[in-house]
């Protein structure tokens, strides 16, 4: 049989395998690494976590670092330095983190591994605005370099509140901590939100770039660290069967849903100002859209992929003010029931304004005005207190010609990419029901990660922290991606906060799939939301 190349991308899959054996930081391949299934260990470094006593560090970052260590993927010389306001000794900090890691770690904590891991954890008490605290930090990092062999490599993780970013960055620069010595590196990881609108995002980028270059800046969106999000590229570009169908000629429309049963919980303070559009659509959902809609990159380099992603956002159709209400529906949950239990409405939640106009649900009808996606509507919905928690992308293919069997068929072929939970891929096709007549019904072919692969996927933060340590920015958002996303979101927010002709805020009971207006968004086009 003749061997043929699956697609122009197959060469890039080879590159991917080569890249897997060579970290971005490591131009010279290690001959002993050849053939090993594991990725190279990043260079030794110190990881400084600002806001180290907060939720993110305890629930996600340190458990992720522990798991990386337990898998043997952490460099032998690594130091984790928590920077926060509260007074604590190294020992107290280690005890707190041990307790949190035992609670939140993906794998059970082993005493002997924790003992070794804990030796690399330190605590540094300082106010974020206290200049002397950063001078002491610089001194301490130098000592750690000397004692632990971390070679002057530094990764600063901003897990503090966004309003603290500016003083932290300013003082890091003043203390010279943004500078690299010969052969070492300094990087900064910034957690979302990357601003609250285009102006603030630009301002944040300006502040960051006063101290660090774009190459040193890693904007983390944990959705991109999820196995299934990464698998979108593999599904699209490693399977030749999808490539010819992935365009306006064969795709009727696309739906992206990010639903959760949880309410606002303890995040009301933040959420009241953000809302679903800023909290989810500007980052996570647009990132998923980019992976779904982007053109094949020329290679798997970070910038090649991000170049293609940003083109998608740039191609999103912008609406004049008077068309926003026609294409974007905002909603808010009222009291209702989740899993049979009564739950309060959003306005009754703790720390929420009883007259709040914040949206907890958004549905959008988008168009990507480029050659591939011309006239293919993309419907997106995101919301809290919806009937189930699920993040899924569905590609709805056009109907077969209405002759022969297809005259009475209403269902389309649908390819579903389940991001979470129960990660997997399903394809709905038509099949003849057994019998003497031609009765046709849809059937589903279903692939579940959990069923097919026994091995648990690493947590998104594990992958992303390792990538940042290795200097691989592929799964991090670039400045222009973030700014383009805000440029798309801003007109919607402005319309919602205008003085007149404000699009309506629709209410829906908790436990329902959003307001009727969201259904109308599709019904007008003769379509309906997929049943999840």
């Amino acid at each position: 049989m003749r061997e043929f190349s699956l697609s122009p991308f197959s060469g890039n899959l080879r590159n991917l395998r080569i890249r897997m054996n060579r970290a971005a930081d490591q131009p010279e391949p290690n001959p002993l690494r050849e053939g090993l299934a594991t990725r190279p260990v990043p260079q030794p470094c110190s990881i400084v976590i600002f806001g180290a006593t907060g939720d993110l560090a305890h629930r996600k970052l340190v458990p992720a670092l522990y798991n990386v260590a337990a898998d043997g993927d952490l460099p032998p010389a690594v130091a984790i330095l928590g920077f926060a306001r509260r007074k604590k000794s190294d020992e107290e900090f280690r005890r707190d983190l041990e307790e949190a890691t035992r609670k939140f770690s993906r794998q059970a904590v082993r005493d002997e591994i924790w003992k070794t891991f804990a030796q690399s954890i330190f605590y540094h008490q300082s106010e974020f605005g206290d200049e002397s605290g950063y001078k002491r930090l610089a001194k301490r990092l130098d000592e750690i370099d000397k004692d632990h062999g971390t070679r002057g490599n530094r990764l600063f993780y901003f897990a503090a509140a966004p309003d603290q970013f500016e003083p932290i960055l300013k003082h890091l620069k003043a203390a010279g901590l943004n500078e690299t010595c010969k052969g070492s590196w300094v990087r900064v990881i910034v957690e979302k939100p990357f601003g609250t609108d285009l102006a603030s995002a630009r301002e944040l980028n300006r502040i960051v770039h006063n101290s660090f270059t774009e190459e040193q800046t890693y904007r983390i969106d944990h959705f991109l660290g999820k196995e299934t999000a990464q698998n979108i590229l593999v599904l699209r570009f490693a399977n030749a069967i999808f490539s010819p169908l992935w365009n306006t000629h064969y795709i009727d429309h696309v739906q992206i849903t990010a639903a959760e049963t949880l309410g606002v919980g303890t995040r009301a303070g933040y959420y009241e100002h953000a809302g679903a559009l800023r909290d989810m659509v500007q980052n996570h959902l647009l990132q998923l859209l980019c992976l779904t809609a982007m053109e094949p990159p020329t290679d798997l380099g970070a910038d090649s992929i991000r170049d293609e992603k940003v083109k998608v956002v740039r191609s999103l159709r912008r609406w004049p003010r008077n068309e926003i209400a026609v294409n974007v529906v905002r909603g808010q949950y009222t009291k209702g029931a989740i899993h049979g239990d009564p739950v309060a409405g959003y306005r009754q939640e703790e720390n929420v304004n009883p007259d709040s106009q914040t949206e907890t649900f958004v549905a959008l009808r988008l168009f990507i005005d480029n050659w591939r996606w011309a006239d293919v509507p993309i419907y997106m919905r995101v919301g809290k207190r919806l009937p189930k928690s699920a993040t899924e992308i569905s590609i709805h293919f056009k109907k077969a010609p209405a002759v022969l069997f297809n005259k009475d068929l209403h269902d389309l072929n649908v390819l579903v990419i389940r991001i979470q939970p129960d990660e997997g891929i399903a394809l709905r096709i038509h099949a003849k029901v057994p019998g003497t007549s031609f009765h046709i019904e849809p059937v589903k072919m279903d692939f579940h990660y959990g069923t097919s692969f026994g091995k648990a996927s690493p947590e998104a933060y594990e992958r992303l922290l390792l990538d940042a340590m290795s200097g691989d920015a592929t799964l991090f958002a670039r400045r222009d991606e973030v700014e383009q996303a805000w440029a798309f979101i801003d007109p919607i927010e402005e319309a919602w906060h205008a003085k007149k002709d404000v699009p309506e805020l629709f209410f829906h009971p908790a436990g329902s799939w959003g307001p009727e207006a969201a259904d109308d968004l599709l019904a007008r086009d003769g379509r309906a939301w997929r049943r999840l």
């Binding site: 290690n30 299934a37 043997g72 579940h448 959990g450 069923t451 692969f453």
Partner: protein, 352 residues
């Protein structure tokens, strides 16, 4: 239903001609509560009496992480009368995804008499279509090997450690591979056994600044357990292949000398001692020693580097296990060809 609930018995006896039909019946009856999953055909062949039960137990554990159609075969090639008995069963485990049970099916065969003629047909007629065929050969290989079967094998898995005549066995495998005219990947569990130790040593040199140590390596010491000399030799072969060393001379069974590309001599000392298969590896480059040793707690490796008598910061990493289930699970996780293995073998072929 008996065959589903029981994971260690051979299950339901079936007629050879109705295996497919009986399997379909099995799944029809348990539809809803269970999901059948399969990523590969995993055929296991052994001539050891009682191996069918032993391998059924192994498959019950291997399928926890590797959904497959298992075709487990015990053969008595010297039996007077030809005959085949077959059973079907399933190994079910609760999936990570939820409460649903995920099941791998197993077809078990007891072959009597003409093994050579029966085996290819038994395997080929019971494959799950479009899935790769992994053949776990638990015997020494026979001469000649049957090309009819080998043409369809994607990966052949064996353990070279107990082989009496490594060179003869390897010749058989390689000629079968050549005859099959397709890319059969050779998967030696003796090589898999080295995976964690290789990873532990490799990570010392991930930083380009540490590459200069390669040119300074003058001594390698490997401590191995009784019966694992060939494993230690494979490790030496790996170092030699990847670092371009050439075998120079041997001094007794356990003292070897290699020459690096610059003419530098590298002394290899292999020591048998109680402990894990590869218990400790020490690589000396200049005045730095890179040390990998099994931690006291057993399934962890302690790695460190430093000058003799100097301060060291040890790090722990997974050591891997030496039992069949762990080795198979490890091997099944890996994909792609094992070129590095073949290079390693070629460097120590004469010594194995």
């Amino acid at each position: 239903m008996a065959p589903i609930a029981e994971t260690y018995s051979l299950g339901l006896p079936v007629e050879i001609g109705s295996i497919d039909h009986e399997l379909k019946k099995l799944w029809r009856e348990s539809e809803g509560a269970m999901t059948r999953a399969s990523l590969m055909n995993l055929a296991v062949y052994s001539e050891e009496p009682g191996s069918l039960k032993k391998n059924t137990q192994l498959m019950a554990r291997i399928t926890e992480n590797h959904a497959c159609r298992a075709i487990v075969i015990e053969a008595d090639c010297n039996a007077q009368e030809d005959g085949v008995d077959a059973w079907i069963s399933a190994h079910c485990h609760v999936s990570r995804a939820g409460s649903k049970q995920v099941c791998s099916e197993q077809i078990s065969f007891c072959l009597n008499g003409g093994c050579t003629t029966q085996l290819p047909n038994i395997v080929l007629s019971n494959l799950d279509s479009d899935l790769p065929l992994y053949l776990w050969w638990q015997q020494e290989f026979h001469n000649p090997m049957d090309p009819q079967l080998w043409t369809w094998v994607d990966r052949v898995i064996y353990d070279s450690r107990p082989w009496q005549d490594f060179q003869a066995q390897m010749r058989l495998v390689e000629s079968a591979q050549a005859e099959a005219k397709q890319r059969i990947v050779l998967c030696d569990l003796n090589w898999t056994r080295l995976d964690k130790a290789r990873f532990a040593l490799a990570q010392f040199f991930d930083h380009p600044a540490s590459h200069h140590h390669f040119a300074k390596i003058k001594k390698v010491r490997i401590d191995y357990a009784s019966g694992f000399r060939s494993t230690a030799l494979l490790f030496v072969g790996w170092l030699a292949a990847q670092l371009n060393w050439r075998s120079e001379k041997t001094d007794g069974e356990n003292k070897l000398q290699f020459v690096g590309s610059s003419g530098r001599k590298i002394d290899i000392e292999m020591r048998q001692r109680d402990g894990e298969p590869i218990h400790e590896v020490a690589v000396t480059a200049g005045d730095i020693e890179f040390l990998i040793t099994h931690a006291k707690c057993g399934d962890l490796l302690e790695i460190s580097r430093g000058k003799a008598g100097g301060k060291r910061v040890p790090q722990l990493m997974p050591a891997g296990k030496n039992d069949s289930v762990s080795l198979m699970s490890e091997e099944l996780m890996r994909g792609g060809p094992h070129h590095v293995y073949l290079h390693a073998i070629n460097c120590v072929r004469e010594l194995l």
